[in-house]
């Protein structure tokens, strides 16, 4: 059976959604803090006790889709 393929790089829609989620729930507070999207995903994965890959894997994506509170998960 053909394996379900995931594109190697994220589509712009994926990236936009992921950024939107991270900006809302895992905001970067310091302007000098120049974190890559991978580092920000890692931060989210640590919070939710997921396997820390820095990639938008299935379990990370599933968490992002779940209904939740609108307050950030990390705050200054």
């Amino acid at each position: 059976f053909p394996a379900q393929l995931r594109p190697e790089s994220w589509s712009s829609i994926d990236l936009e959604k992921v950024k939107g989620y991270l900006d809302k729930f895992f905001p970067v507070f310091s302007k000098t803090q120049n974190l890559s999207i991978e580092e920000r995903i890692k931060e989210m994965q640590k919070f939710f006790h997921l396997t820390v890959t820095g990639k938008l894997d299935t379990e990370t994506e599933e968490i992002m889709k779940l209904p939740r509170c609108g307050m950030p998960d990390i705050s200054e």
Partner: protein, 168 residues
């Protein structure tokens, strides 16, 4: 558990609340009851007491709203964000807003108002999100039976850190 940044807390133990608007998914009296029980989750384990007011401004003002609703944090339609609340403070501080695009329920496993309200009131009182799965202040919604709900230890420890234990 975590407390909100700066550890804001109410400087009084008698707090007021007001319900400004309702969802049409649940009869009004059931909304009233769910809100009352959600506040009791916290007053049962601390010296805090809640009293409903109607005319004047309340410490915790509760409303159902859709999309942009005046606080700069618009809701996103069905799914996604269910509600949000503001930490202790004057004005909007303590207020809790519920997304009226959700299908709210007080009896079945649609988004249960009591469970979400109890979580939001944790913010209203000064708790931040917990990363302990199963804690009420965990940010992801999960259903549990409201009839048998017991405040998890993580949340109880957090709120008692802020306000102390209920005297017997």
């Amino acid at each position: 558990y975590q407390t909100l940044p700066g550890t804001p807390k109410w400087k009084k133990t008698h707090l007021t609340y007001k319900i400004l608007s309702y969802t049409s998914d649940i009869p009004r009296k059931n909304v009233d009851d769910a809100i009352k029980r959600a506040l009791m989750v916290w007053s049962d384990v601390t010296p805090l007491q809640f009293r409903r007011v109607y005319g004047r401004q309340a410490d915790i003002e509760i409303r159902f709203a859709r999309r942009e609703h005046g606080d700069g944090a618009p809701f996103d339609g069905k799914g996604g964000t269910l509600a949000h609340a503001f930490g202790p403070g004057e004005g909007i501080g303590g207020d809790a807003h519920f997304d009226n695009d959700e299908k709210w329920s007080d009896v079945n496993k649609d988004v249960n108002l009591f469970l979400v309200a109890a979580h939001e009131f944790g913010h209203s009182l000064g708790l931040d999100h917990s990363n302990v799965r199963g804690a009420l202040m965990y940010p992801i919604y999960s259903y549990r039976n409201p009839e048998t709900f017991k405040l998890p230890a993580d949340d109880r420890q957090g709120i008692q850190k802020l306000y102390g234990k209920k005297s017997s």
